[in-house]
């Protein structure tokens, strides 16, 4: 079992509702392993895209 700290940048779809945001993020980052702890630590605008910056601790 190996624990890793990963940093993920997710481009946010334009028409996503805030109520669907958690599932959207988990759907993307859970591919990296078993999630121990995660959060969105920053949001930036790049061009016309909204980018979520995520830190997650995962186990493989």
């Amino acid at each position: 079992m190996t624990m890793r700290s990963i940093y993920y940048e997710l481009s946010l779809p334009k028409h996503i509702y805030v109520k669907d945001l958690r599932k959207f993020v988990i759907g993307k980052i859970s591919k990296e392993g078993e999630l121990i702890r995660w959060s969105i630590y920053d949001i930036i605008i790049s061009g016309n895209k909204k980018i979520l910056k995520i830190n997650a601790l995962v186990l493989n």
Binding site: V18, R22, D42
Partner: protein, 349 residues
């Protein structure tokens, strides 16, 4: 008595002005518990090193389990007393271990807490403090399996809650530690502490909390009062044991036949620093259409309401104002009726 069960989150390791130090959000938690009659919160809010307090209205739930509660996966069941076991990291030196064992004995003798046994991990846990993200406290453990194995052996002996004590490296960034002690920086070890307790909660599904074992540090003259609770003893274990002693049982809602004291469906609101809206508990509460009370409590994050289009988000300037808002919610008073200017009703035909 009418209550409005509420979650209070102040994320660990993000340097909040209130709650970024040593249990310095505990007075705010007591205020909110008084306002709501029922507050669910986590060790970072309640643990003040040597100091903590029991409050019948406060439910002490570790962060990973708190996220599960916010996602409506578990309920909380009040208990009279938990039977606590302690996991000690194999890397802890004998003298420091003895200090911790004496703290456990003191909590039994003086506070009447039920602490029955301890185990030492087979291997060193291997704490790694990471500074990859400038300004945020983070890290990981090299040997998660040894912690899980130790926890399972305690559960096999009948314990119902786990305190974890791991040895943190002495080579912690001294400059940042000093800034923290002066009230100007973040708690550099807090992020890994949260990772450890999240790991145990995820795999063992019982109440748990973590205390770091550290070598004694020099006396500091210009110590910030918010960090002082960590300077008055040899260990940080007492607050963990006090919190766990009456922490609620975690009841899986998928297949439970047990009565819960608080169901996640009883929750109306979550109170959170206004720049920390990107945590899982908050997003889960938005998913469930609950009130988000965003308190001005500066930290290093800036994931604020400007990024979220969410109608039930209330911004307040401090925890006193949050308490007033929660009383209004509890008593069924429209908070807009108390604010000025007061708008007329709108024609929407």
């Amino acid at each position: 008595m009418r209550t409005t069960p509420t979650i209070l989150v102040i994320p660990t390791g993000i340097g909040c002005e209130i709650g970024g130090f040593a249990g310095d959000a505990l007075p705010a938690a007591k205020l909110l518990a008084s306002a709501t009659g029922c507050l669910v919160t986590h060790p970072n809010v309640m643990n003040g090193g040597m100091l903590s307090e029991k409050d019948e209205r406060i439910f002490y739930v570790e962060g990973y389990s708190l996220d599960r509660f916010a996602r409506a996966e578990i309920g909380l069941k009040k208990v009279n007393q938990q039977k606590i076991g302690i996991i000690f990291d194999k890397k802890i030196e004998n003298e420091i271990l003895l200090r911790h064992l004496q703290v456990a004995d003191a909590c039994i003798a003086t506070l009447g807490i039920d602490i029955t046994s301890y185990v030492i991990t087979d291997e060193p846990v291997g704490i790694v403090i990471s500074d990859e993200l400038s300004g945020l406290s983070s890290g990981y453990v090299r040997n998660p399996e040894t912690l899980i194995k130790a926890g399972k052996s305690l559960i096999n002996q009948g314990i119902t809650a786990i305190a974890i004590v791991t040895r943190f490296p002495d080579e912690i960034d001294v400059e940042n530690v000093n800034l923290y002690r002066e009230g100007k920086g973040i708690d550099v070890i807090a992020g890994v502490e949260a990772v450890i307790s999240h790991l145990i909660s995820k795999y063992l599904k019982i109440p748990c909390a973590h205390a770091p074992a550290l070598a004694p540090i020099d006396l500091k003259v210009n110590l910030d009062p918010r960090a002082a609770a960590e300077e008055i003893g040899y260990t940080f274990l007492p607050s963990v044991l006090i919190g766990l002693s009456t922490a609620p049982d975690l009841i899986d809602l998928k297949d439970y036949n047990d009565k819960v004291t608080i169901s996640p469906h009883d929750i109306d609101s979550i109170v959170v620093p206004s720049g920390a809206l990107g945590g899982e508990a908050v997003l889960a509460c938005m998913e469930r259409d609950l009130n988000i009370i965003a308190v001005k409590n500066e930290g290093v994050l800036n994931v604020s309401d400007k990024w979220f289009d969410y109608k039930k988000l209330f911004k307040v300037d401090n925890y006193i104002e949050a308490a007033g808002l929660l009383i209004a919610i509890k008593e069924g008073i429209n908070y807009k009726s108390i604010n000025r200017p007061l708008k007329s009703i709108q024609n929407c035909t």
